[in-house]
């Protein structure tokens, strides 16, 4: 039994460890370790395409996660106050945003936006007084919107669960003591749900940062980090990709550990 468990952990971590190890390989050869070197990291970081892709990914992940955290939290608070039938409808839509495969979300967003652009862009061109009318197109906006959809549903679910486990009595006590709803929210509710909002934000950031398939459809000419990594992998396995892969792993690891710490804090508090 114990041996089985060890084998499972080996299975889970050995491939990752191998990629990390070979990212420090001095030679080009992928099958033997010829010496320790950080040269491939330098090479990767001086690659302007890679740095641009990283920048795009960070902008997109941050924006979509912030929007998802704000709107998702608002929705979780609002859902509470909704009539049951409306709430069921809303819950179904949120579940759909999570369950529908990323491939389909990407396609549907692409199809809808292109249809929209084909109407809006000629209209804009007609109405525009100047020579060069602005053209709407795929890019940051479409990726942020598509990532935010899933992320917002995720944040709503997490915050909703937290609100459900919140003590009602303390909220009632607050209003009995003549606190305005806003004061009650600021002093009582918000501090208690804040860890789950932050956890939701970090999960949303991680999801967006790691997502390949949705961005692949709606990115237009923009390149995100996973799209860049995917394209390089198809050109062939090189130590430089190992270095990039290791950095991607380290980044998502850092984010996910922070999110879990926040969720843990939430758990221990509700256990009191």
């Amino acid at each position: 039994m114990r041996a089985f468990l060890s084998a499972v952990y080996l299975f889970l971590y050995a491939p990752i460890a191998l990629v990390v190890l070979f990212s420090f390989n001095a030679g080009r050869n992928a099958s033997e370790f010829t010496g320790f070197s950080t040269a491939w990291y330098g090479k990767a970081l001086s690659n302007t395409f890679l740095v641009a892709a990283l920048q795009n990914s960070l902008i997109i992940a941050f924006t979509s996660a912030v929007l998802a955290a704000i709107f998702g939290t608002m929705a979780a608070l609002g859902l509470e106050r909704l009539r049951p039938r409306m709430r069921a409808l809303f819950d179904a839509l949120l579940a759909a945003a999570i369950v529908v495969p990323g491939v389909v979300i990407g396609i549907a967003t692409l199809v809808a936006l292109v249809a929209l652009f084909s109407i809006v862009n000629p209209a804009l061109a007609n109405l525009w007084p100047g020579e060069r009318p602005p053209q709407l197109g795929l890019g940051y906006g479409s990726i942020i919107a598509a990532h935010g959809l899933f992320s917002m549903a995720l944040v709503t679910m997490i915050v909703k669960a937290r609100i459900a486990s919140l003590g009602r009595d303390i909220v009632e006590a607050s209003s009995d003591l003549y606190a305005t709803p806003l004061t009650t929210f600021r002093l009582i509710v918000l501090p208690q749900i804040l860890p789950s909002i932050l956890a939701g934000f970090l999960l949303a950031f991680t999801f967006s940062f790691d997502d390949f398939i949705i961005a692949f459809f709606v990115a237009g000419s923009k390149t995100t980090l996973p799209i860049y990594v995917f394209a390089s992998i198809r050109r062939g396995v090189t130590p430089e990709i190992n270095a990039i892969a290791t950095m991607v792993l380290a980044a998502s690891l850092l984010l996910i550990l922070s999110a879990r710490l926040l969720m843990r804090e939430k758990k221990s508090k509700s256990g009191e």
């Binding site: 889970l12 990629v19 929705a75 369950v99 495969p101 919107a145 935010g148």
Partner: protein
């Protein structure tokens, strides 16, 4: 009182509005658009032109291989996942030292939250010609091909989704009332019969959740078949990327996407129905 009520409703609406707007514009409308496209025609230069035809759906059999692979390998992969996940979850929930339990469980979850692209790439590396086949050739076993086979895809699936399968099973085993196990032992049941008579049936909701989650995610999988199947083991997701980004046949792609969503819904409903039957309640969380 009425004014207070109106104010309350306004606040509720204001809280819900951004999320409702987002869901409508980027989920509901796109689905309607996709449905419309599925009944249209491919424009000569690629893309979409309006029409009302069922031709796209009639064409589905031309992509039968992708459907066949997906509908065979997704459940097979989920089942293989289960075979590895159940003993792991059982050990973590029942046998592991409570002091280290949290750490051990976290160690299982962490890989799931790191990039699937990178983790799948790791296997390209191991299974590729410079990996295991290279090692095998050193001991005289030549010409072993591991990459770009259905087996490689299945391995990638088990690797990628194992954590997601372990978690729901672990949760249901952890919730298990220990007194039931003691009662079973007190009544003279051997450990094996306690396992099959008590533990396993009570963990079935977790098993169902895991199998359903993994199967549903796999139905739309793209990366694993692309990287480890090398274009030979095609899933529906790969067909969709091909149709939209290469051959620009949007109506046909939309028809396939609509069909995929229908399959996901059917699988989800079946899973929930079975789960309810097993659990005897309606309280099974699939999401």
């Amino acid at each position: 009182m009425r004014a207070a009520n109106r104010k309350r409703n306004l606040v509720t609406a204001a809280l819900i509005a951004p999320a409702a707007g987002w869901l409508s514009v980027f989920l509901v409308l796109p689905f309607i658009a996709m449905l419309v496209f599925a009944f249209g025609e491919r424009a000569p230069e690629g893309g979409y032109q309006p029409a009302f035809t069922f031709a796209q759906f009639a064409n589905l059999p031309t992509r039968a291989t992708a459907f066949w692979n997906t509908l065979m390998l997704a459940p097979a992969g989920a089942f293989l996942c289960l075979l590895v996940a159940y003993p792991t979850a059982y050990y973590l929930a029942v046998k592991a030292n409570p002091r280290y339990r949290l750490i051990l469980v976290s160690l299982v979850v962490v890989p799931f939250w790191t990039s699937l692209l990178v983790r799948t790439y790791a296997w390209m590396y191991i299974l590729g010609s410079r990996g295991i086949p290279n090692l095998l050739s050193m001991i005289g076993i030549e010409d072993v091909r591991l990459l770009n086979t259905p087996g490689a895809v299945l391995l990638g699936i088990v690797y990628g989704y194992l954590p997601l399968m372990i978690m729901p099973i672990y949760v249901s085993l952890e919730k298990l009332d220990r007194r039931l196990l003691e009662a079973s032992a007190d009544l003279g049941a051997k450990p094996v019969s306690t396992f099959f008579g008590v533990t396993l049936p009570l963990s079935l909701p977790g098993v169902m959740t895991g199998v359903a989650l993994v199967t549903i995610l796999l139905l739309g999988e793209y990366l694993i078949p692309q990287l480890l199947g090398g274009g030979k083991v095609f899933f529906i997701g790969n067909a969709l990327v091909d149709l939209f980004l290469q051959s620009r046949n949007w109506p046909f792609g939309s028809a396939i996407a609509v069909t995929l969503v229908a399959v996901v819904v059917v699988v989800l409903m079946a899973a929930m129905r079975i789960a309810w039957k097993i659990a005897g309640t309606r309280q099974v969380d699939l999401v």
